[in-house]
């Protein structure tokens, strides 16, 4: 059974995603790290669904839907921020008003 190793791999990937969100300043790269974290959680769901039954895979389905919606809205926000500031460096974007 690959349950334990799968959970460990997903923990490592999640940690790398957390480190990326904390370290990087480019908004798009931070966004990609969030996607990486969501993928790690998907791996947990799939690994546990092997023992628990296929309803875990239904949750992966929902996570993917949320990730797709989040990517669409988030990239639209980045697009409009770029129009305002001509940059996606989060260090320079610290005001809510434009």
């Amino acid at each position: 059974m690959l349950l334990g190793p799968s959970l460990a791999v997903s923990a490592i990937l999640f940690t790398i995603g957390v480190a990326g969100v904390l370290l990087r300043r480019n908004a798009i790269v931070i966004f990609m790290c969030v996607e990486l974290m969501l993928n790690a959680v998907n791996l947990t769901f799939v690994a546990l669904s092997q023992a628990y039954g296929s309803s875990g895979q239904v949750f992966v389905f929902f996570v993917m839907t949320v990730a797709a919606a989040e990517a669409a809205v988030g990239l639209a926000i980045i697009l409009s921020i770029y129009r305002h500031h001509k940059s996606v460096d989060l260090q320079q974007i610290n005001l809510l008003r434009g």
Binding site: L3, P5, A11, F14, V18, V46, S54, S55, I78
Partner: protein, 186 residues
């Protein structure tokens, strides 16, 4: 054999995830993220989740990453970022990630379905997971009867029907939100 393939995919996934974080060029980061997602799809296939693996390739490695690359190239962000400075924040982030990994990985790597069954039943003796989760026994039978997508479709359209309908509202809201945010003048 299966374990060797699993560890190969796991190693490539972890290395390319590290490269996602450390690459200075956003386009390189995006391509390494595609590599991570393809390796995860391989792991999903090994874990008997063939449908999820196929969806992972189609939706994540296909659609979502194309969206990312599209925005990077539309905004012409393909230049290298400034190098990561080793500020106190840098050390704090690496320390936090290291602590998180060193706590999670030893605890999880020995986790087994027997342990899951034990925690689920709270009985004094280790239970046989096949007896606790009767779905494990019937899963092979269900896959034979309904096929791999049918195995997921049954809980999705019976037990989780209301959440499934709610995701359609979420997607509609996301479409409207994306158009409103990205359009210059409505």
């Amino acid at each position: 054999m299966v374990e060797a393939v699993f560890w190969f995919f796991a190693a490539v996934a972890i290395v390319s995830a590290l490269l996602v974080v450390t690459m200075r060029n956003p386009i390189a980061s995006a391509f390494w993220l595609v590599c991570t997602m393809l390796c995860l799809a391989g792991i999903f296939f090994l874990l008997q989740a063939q449908f999820i693996g196929a969806i992972q390739i189609l939706v994540y490695a296909g659609a979502v990453m194309v969206l990312f690359l599209f925005v990077i190239m539309l905004l012409n962000l393909g230049r290298d970022d400034a190098a990561l400075k080793r500020t106190p924040t840098w050390f704090a982030a690496v320390l936090l990630a290291g602590v998180l990994a060193s706590q999670l990985v030893p605890a999880l790597i020995r986790y087994s379905s027997e342990r899951l069954a034990f925690e689920y039943t709270r009985s004094a003796v280790l239970a046989d997971p096949r007896m606790v989760f009767d779905s494990t026994l019937s899963a092979a039978q269900a896959t034979l009867e309904r096929g791999v997508p049918g195995d997921i479709a049954k809980p999705l359209f019976e037990h989780y029907l209301v959440p499934f309908e709610l995701t359609s509202i979420l997607l509609l809201a996301a479409i409207v939100g994306a158009v409103v945010l990205a359009k210059r003048r409505i």
